[in-house]
């Protein structure tokens, strides 16, 4: 790789903590990953693993929450977002970098017409007349394949279905022609058929615009279909990351294996779906050594004592495990 151009997004050693009373409770520890243009990175993990908080930190939406950035840097095209003044940061938000959320039903303001909400985003970042911005909004609605955009632009959110609302959210996210799109569980609240449509739409838009995408999901199936690279998070850490094909061919972390095994397969006749035993420890519970060891069949003494460092398995495949699975397993 050449050093001429920095990656689109480079997260280095990001740590997040929740402020409770007087103390800080770590929720994301020393997280690093990078993303290039036209690339899709999937972040997968159970609820509470810190994947959503990470996306909010990148987007700059932690203000007003008890979560604090306690370390690291988030470089967007070489600029550290964490040290940018608020005003300059806002110039990037919704413009060069935008985000869509899990709940299309509640993510749009119920009292404004969808057209006005899109126009608001456009005019916030580009000097444009109302008429021009409205024409652009129609164009955006057409881009996200909303039928009859001229007629739909004056609808209120409650007049649209969940899938349509998520398309509107995507249209709004595209308003500034972003180079990075963060999609936090964009299809979780939708019907399965609509899910596939939305994922295809996002993929199509990526090939049209060349934006980089971070797709956050708890669903390894969704991630597998759409992402070039996958980072598996467990309790605030990336425990394994690799190219999608590589990860599924040779998963090395027992947690990744567990996630995959708990996806039902229609052609297999199993009595009971395997689950990962135990539960994710609470944030206030202290776990020494590897955070996954209480639930891991391969855990040994070293796992209980020492937090595993990142091991490179070659080909961009890395993981944190003292006893990684054999590549053929």
């Amino acid at each position: 790789m050449t050093q001429s151009k920095p990656p689109l997004l480079d997260v280095r050693g990001l740590s997040l903590s929740i402020a409770t009373g007087g103390s800080l409770m770590p929720v994301v520890r020393d997280l690093s990953f990078s993303l290039n243009a036209s690339e899709t990175l999937g972040i997968v993990g159970e609820s509470g693993c810190g994947k959503s908080l990470t996306s909010l930190a990148i987007m700059g939406l932690l203000e007003g929450t008890p979560v604090r950035v306690t370390g690291g840097e988030i470089l967007f095209e070489g600029r550290d977002l964490l040290t940018l003044p608020a005003r300059e940061r806002r110039r990037i938000m919704g413009n060069e970098m935008s985000m869509i959320f899990q709940e299309p039903m509640t993510s749009l303001n119920p009292v404004y017409r969808i057209g006005d909400q899109i126009v608001e985003t456009i005019r916030e970042h580009q000097p444009m007349s109302k008429t021009a911005a409205r024409a652009r909004a129609v164009e955006l609605l057409r881009m996200v394949r909303i039928p009859d955009p001229q007629g739909r632009i004056d609808s209120y959110p409650h007049q649209l279905s969940g899938g349509m609302r998520q398309r509107v959210m995507i249209a709004m996210a595209l308003a500034g022609s972003p180079r990075l799109l963060i999609a936090d569980e964009p299809t979780t609240a939708l019907d399965v058929t609509v899910q596939a449509q939305i994922l295809k739409l996002i993929a199509d838009l990526q090939s049209e615009t060349g934006m980089g995408i971070i797709l956050i999901s708890h669903d390894l199936g969704v991630i597998a279909e759409t992402c070039d690279r996958i980072a598996v998070m467990y309790r605030g850490r990336v425990v394994e990351s690799a190219q999608t094909r590589d990860l599924f061919a040779r998963m090395r972390h027992p947690y990744t294996r567990g996630l995959l095994d708990s996806i039902p397969e229609p052609d297999e006749d199993v009595e009971r779906l395997p689950t990962i035993p135990g539960r994710v420890p609470g944030l206030d519970e202290r776990v020494d050594g590897c955070a996954f060891h209480p639930r891991c069949a391969r855990a040994s003494d070293i796992c209980r004592e020492q937090d595993p460092a990142e091991t490179a398995f070659g080909g961009g495949h890395a993981g944190r495990c003292h006893h990684p699975l054999e590549p053929d397993a």
Partner: protein, 315 residues
């Protein structure tokens, strides 16, 4: 929306009929004979009886009601027993004071309640918020008559800045400057209601602030003040609009006390005096007008509600 308003106005008719009957019956249930009150202690029973007949008060109550209702429908609210003048003109005399008092009170409520509520919510948890919430709590708990008396003591007696009582019409000498007579009374009347609005604006803004669409607005890169006004406040207003209906109801009863404390020649004081005088036609007339006003204001609140929240459909 026009069709809805028309239908709501038509629906007022049966409600008004019921209200008129209630008002009529309640007033006639008050013990005491208007003829006796009118003639004073020295009147003989014969004189009282003659006057009672003259005023039609010897007829059966249902006939009195029908007779009164017939006149009301023709726009005649009767003649005041005490003043000997048409009820409508007696009420009109007090209307200027009361309408101006109500308008100034509403102005106080809006200019105090809304901005303090907004600041309180956006500075949630800071000393500004605590001061505002504490102040709101205090003013919500202070009785109107007590606050009125203290304001008179401070601003009229000690400082001599504002008049303590009475109200000359703005058509008299002094013109609009006469409105200063209403400053203290309107503030007194506004205080508990503004306190309510402060608390409500604050609470509903804090509720809205947690909603997903506010996060979307911030993700657009909007400046915090734009998020607070265009997105949070705008949505919080829906709950606040409903409260203005209740506020109006509260104002009516509090106006009676306030007009008495500040000796204002308004409708509130007219009601109190008319009850003491057993002036049936005036009491009935005033209450009927208040009922109409109350229902119209509630209709306006409902229309505002639908206008503020597109999810509410007026069908």
């Amino acid at each position: 929306m026009l069709g809805y308003a028309t239908r709501r106005l038509l629906a007022l008719i049966p409600t008004l009929l019921a209200a008129s009957l209630l008002v009529f019956l309640f007033v006639h249930l008050i013990p005491g004979d208007p003829a006796a009150v009118l003639l004073g202690d020295t009147a003989t029973p014969e004189e009282v009886e003659a006057l009672t007949r003259e005023m039609g008060l010897d007829a059966p109550v249902y006939l009195q009601y029908l007779y009164w209702l017939g006149n009301v429908l023709q726009g005649d609210l009767g003649t005041s027993i005490f003043f000997g003048a048409p009820v409508l003109s007696v009420i009109a005399d007090g209307a200027e004071t009361s309408i101006l008092l109500a308008v100034m009170t509403m102005v106080w409520i809006v200019i105090l309640g809304v901005p303090i509520g907004v600041v309180s919510a956006t500075r949630h948890g800071t000393w500004v918020d605590q001061l505002a919430s504490g102040g709101a709590m205090l003013f919500a708990s202070v009785p109107t008559f007590w606050l009125g008396l203290y304001l008179i003591l401070i601003f009229s007696v000690s400082l001599g800045w504002l008049p303590s009582s009475g109200y000359p019409s703005i058509s008299d000498d002094g013109g609009l400057a006469n409105l200063r007579y209403l400053l203290l009374p309107s503030f007194t009347l506004a205080a508990p209601n503004a306190a309510l609005i402060i608390r409500l604006v604050r609470a509903s803004m804090l509720d809205v602030q947690r909603e997903d669409h506010v996060r979307t607005a911030r993700a657009k890169g909007l400046a915090p003040w734009k998020v607070a006004t265009k997105h949070v406040f705008r949505n919080a207003l829906i709950a606040v609009a409903a409260a203005f209906g209740f506020t109006f109801a509260a104002l009516i009863s509090e106006a009676v006390v306030t007009e008495t404390v500040f000796s204002l020649p308004g409708i509130g004081r007219l009601v109190v005096q008319s009850i003491l005088r057993r002036d049936y036609p005036v009491i009935q007339g005033v209450i009927l007008i208040i009922v109409v006003l109350y229902m119209v204001i509630n209709l306006l609140v409902d229309l505002a509600y639908a206008w503020l929240d597109p999810r509410v459909s007026l069908k």
